[in-house]
């Protein structure tokens, strides 16, 4: 990889505020949390789903079901990069007639979410599926939009946008790095 310097565009406080706001929005749009299942897309989507669930609990004082949905096997771009490690899929309860909120860290081309919709089809038939992402950085290659967005970010296509979360990265931050040369 070429040298690049990562610029922090969002810190931990800003991330926390965004998650709280998204939690409120999810509860409001869905009129409560009873039929709600949050499915995080590994790796950081799973962590964000947990944080959203925590936030919803503090708002509604109820437990919201969370799970994990690995999409690796459904990707249509596998041949473009070295073999990816396969993540875990864990569905907390049957999804039929539930409202599923897919959670991921960054929405970019839309291919991950397309793969997630394919993967979801194999495990159940939810009443509706929504998408929550912390960062929407544009440059979509497919007609996919998020329902709950932490922040829209204008970044050139070649830039790398990374979400760092304390659970695995030691601190919370959103960074942008642009490869030099």
């Amino acid at each position: 990889m070429t040298n690049s310097t990562a610029r922090i565009v969002w810190d931990g406080h800003q991330i926390a505020r965004a998650i709280a706001r998204m939690a409120h929005q999810i509860v409001e749009v869905n009129a409560g949390s009873a039929d709600l299942v949050l499915l995080g897309i590994p790796t950081r989507g799973v962590l964000l789903a947990r944080r959203l669930a925590d936030a919803i609990r503090s708002i509604e004082n109820t437990e919201v079901a969370i799970g994990e949905l690995d999409v690796t096997m459904y990707r249509d771009d596998l041949r473009r990069q070295p073999t990816r490690a396969v993540g875990r899929t864990a569905i907390p309860r049957p999804l039929d007639d539930q409202t599923v909120v897919l959670v991921d860290d960054v929405l970019f081309t839309g291919r991950t979410i397309a793969a997630a919709l394919d993967a979801l089809k194999e495990v159940g038939r939810p009443r509706s599926v929504q998408l929550a992402v912390l960062i929407d950085r544009g440059h979509r290659e497919l007609p996919i939009q998020a329902d709950h967005v932490g922040r829209q970010l204008q970044a050139p296509a070649e830039a790398r946008v990374n979400v760092k979360l304390t659970e695995i990265d030691d601190h919370d931050a959103v960074t942008i790095s642009v490869p030099e040369g």
Partner: protein, 309 residues
């Protein structure tokens, strides 16, 4: 990963990745819809120069459940010095744009030779009396689940006895190599006539006395007596073999509590394994078969699921 030819090719990290992915595949197999789109547009040719219903079916399901175009070729009988050369056979099919060959061959080394001639990925589905790496992987998969799951630490210090016709077994060679990577303690048990030359240099314990290890093993893996290879009388009679080296009901009773029983199949019931042992509660034999598909899906994914370097 370019090819899977030998269990010795796999690092601990690769074995762990293959087994972890196989765990996910195993979960998917419990679903009603088992098919994944992962290998859409990829062509896998199962070339079986030697019959094997079990392994061929397992690879065929693995390919199909991953959406690869999977073709079976039974090339039995074509491997003679008078027939088309192995090189020509492989070059012909490779030229058709095959992505992966799964090859079973009656000759040791034939799969490695084939891999040297083709552009496609190659999986060794058993070559002669040499290796059968996916069998060793599925054995490890079934054992890991039995030993309590987790990563490689599940195998640390575990005692595995592999018993029977070691001379003609490709399963034992791959298992010794893989278990060495995983860190278990392997003891090989066989009559002296069925020990490969130089087995004492394999870095594992060797004994001619099954009863020496029967009560300490965590896993007992019984190997098939290959009647078709019994040239020149390796032991006096099947009765004597069953008594000295079979997993008889008496030996079954002396197993350590919770010890697992494995057999790569097909079994000679009453010869190397009694029906009581094959059907015992702690027998992993059917789980090995189920594991076969999951592990082979994982192997195909590791070979074909990314860009070719």
């Amino acid at each position: 990963m370019r090819h899977l030819l030998s269990a010795a090719d796999l690092s601990l990290a690769e074995v762990t990745s293959i087994l972890d992915t196989a765990d996910e595949m195993h979960t998917i197999q419990q679903r009603q819809i088992k098919k994944l789109p992962t290998l859409r547009g990829r062509t896998v040719i199962n070339m079986f120069f030697e019959d094997s219903t079990r392994t061929r079916t397992s690879f065929e399901l693995a390919g199909k459940w991953m959406s690869a175009d999977t073709i079976n070729i039974s090339a039995k009988g074509s491997s003679t010095s008078k027939g088309e050369s192995l090189r020509d056979t492989m070059l012909t099919l490779d030229a058709m744009g095959t992505d992966c060959f799964v090859i079973r061959h009656g000759s040791s080394g034939a799969v490695a030779q084939a891999a040297g001639w083709v552009r496609a990925h190659v999986v060794n589905a058993g070559d002669g009396t040499h290796e059968h790496p996916t069998q060793a992987l599925l054995d490890a998969f079934a054992m890991r689940r039995h030993l309590g799951g987790g990563g490689a630490e599940a195998f640390a210090g575990k005692k595995i006895a592999i018993v029977g016709d070691l001379l003609h077994s490709r399963v034992v060679r791959s298992n010794v190599l893989l278990q060495r990577t995983l860190g278990s303690e392997v003891t090989l048990v066989a009559p002296p006539t069925l020990l490969p030359t130089g087995v004492d240099e394999w870095g594992v314990a060797v004994t001619n006395d099954f009863d020496e290890v029967i009560h300490t093993a965590d896993v007992v893996m019984m190997l098939r007596v290959q009647r078709e290879r019994m040239y020149g009388g390796f032991f006096p009679t099947e009765r004597e073999y069953a008594e000295l080296y079979g997993l008889t009901p008496e030996r079954l009773a002396r197993l350590k509590p919770g010890a697992a029983i494995c057999h790569p199949g097909p079994m000679n019931r009453g010869l190397e394994i009694s029906s009581e042992a094959a059907d015992a509660a702690n027998s992993l034999i059917l789980e090995q078969v189920t594991a076969g598909v999951s592990v082979r899906m994982s192997v195909l994914y590791h070979l074909l699921g990314g860009s070719s370097e």
